[in-house]
């Protein structure tokens, strides 16, 4: 192996790590991962920045020691200054809620990129074992937690605060899936010449599809129906 280190840029740290491992042809135990830029998802696709990592092959003696750089450890956002009351309050409230839901999890909070109106956006990253119950079917539970937490934090600050909850990197993964789905269905619309109808999605999810398909000039995407059954349709341009 001639290369002992490389830098990877991808939408998320997890993806960058996966790509790097593939390129080097090694398993995660054999490398050190250094996060150069954790990137931001932005909110609804605005202000997002890709993640950047440096991957270095461990030497033989380092390999004998237990692996320390686990990708998911590196993925947690930088903890903000501990003296930020708003972040502390948000984290504390999230922890209280989870404890009362009888769930064990690690909560990390940080400020996300400000949206266009310059309002604060708090990212709440929840990680732990077996948290699929906290995501729920179509992220129902995660969204309920996000809604309640947002209300409590907004009441505390007496202003509307955007709170985004992510569990085990679900939102980033889901965004990737939706982009791929959009591309695949667009291709099908073009091949068959027929309108494709996707399953019902939330406004945030539909937005991801629409944004992705702006780059596909051969199709038009449109949302039809009423929430919660509003769906994206993809039609070939005639």
């Amino acid at each position: 192996m001639e290369r002992t280190n490389l830098e990877v840029i991808a939408p998320t740290i997890e993806e960058a790590t996966a790509r790097g491992l593939e390129q080097l042809g090694v398993s995660s135990e054999m490398v050190e991962v250094e996060v150069l830029d954790e990137g931001t998802r932005g909110f609804l696709g605005m202000g997002s920045r890709q993640a950047r990592i440096r991957m270095t092959l461990k030497s033989a003696d380092a390999l004998a020691a237990p692996a320390s750089a686990h990708p998911s450890d590196a993925a947690s956002p930088t903890p903000a200054a501990a003296d930020d009351d708003l972040l502390n309050f948000t984290a504390e409230t999230a922890r209280e809620l989870l404890a009362r839901m009888k769930l064990t999890a690690t909560v990390t909070v940080s400020y996300g990129a400000a949206d266009l109106s310059g309002e604060k956006n708090i990212l709440v990253d929840i990680r732990g074992d077996d948290l699929s119950v906290l995501i729920g079917r179509r992220a129902e539970t995660m969204n309920a937690l996000q809604y309640i937490l947002g209300l409590i934090v907004s009441k505390q600050t007496e202003a509307w605060v955007q709170v985004t909850v992510d569990v085990e990197g679900y939102r980033a993964r889901r965004e990737q899936q939706l982009r791929q789905l959009a591309r695949r269905m667009a291709e099908q619309a073009i091949c068959t010449g027929k309108r494709q109808v996707l399953e019902p999605m939330s406004s945030a999810e539909r937005r991801i599809i629409h944004l992705e398909l702006r780059e596909v000039p051969e199709v038009i995407s449109e949302s039809v129906g009423e929430d919660p059954n509003r769906k994206v349709t993809i039609s070939p341009k005639i």
Binding site: T93, M101, K102, E140, Y147, L151
Partner: protein, 77 residues
């Protein structure tokens, strides 16, 4: 489940001291009755019941872990 409901309700209302949650059991079904001050009703119910429904979703997670079912009623004061 009772403590989860109390915590959320007390965090959302203007008069936390008037939040009361009563719990009753019927087999594996837990019924929660939430009462709050009259002017706080809207805060725990929400537009179209959105807040109450979000609380129910979170309660379900806690209930499922104990193999139970849960219902939440918001009572008129």
């Amino acid at each position: 489940m009772k403590s989860l409901t109390e915590f959320i309700a007390q965090s959302l209302v203007a008069s936390p001291d008037q939040v009361q949650v009563d719990q009753s059991h019927q087999g594996n079904r837990v019924r929660l009755h939430l009462s709050v001050a009259k002017e706080d009703m809207g805060r725990v119910i929400g537009k179209g019941g959105r807040v109450a429904n979000a609380i129910r979703v979170l309660l379900r997670v806690a209930a499922e872990r104990e193999g139970q079912q849960v219902t939440l009623d918001v009572m008129e004061p």
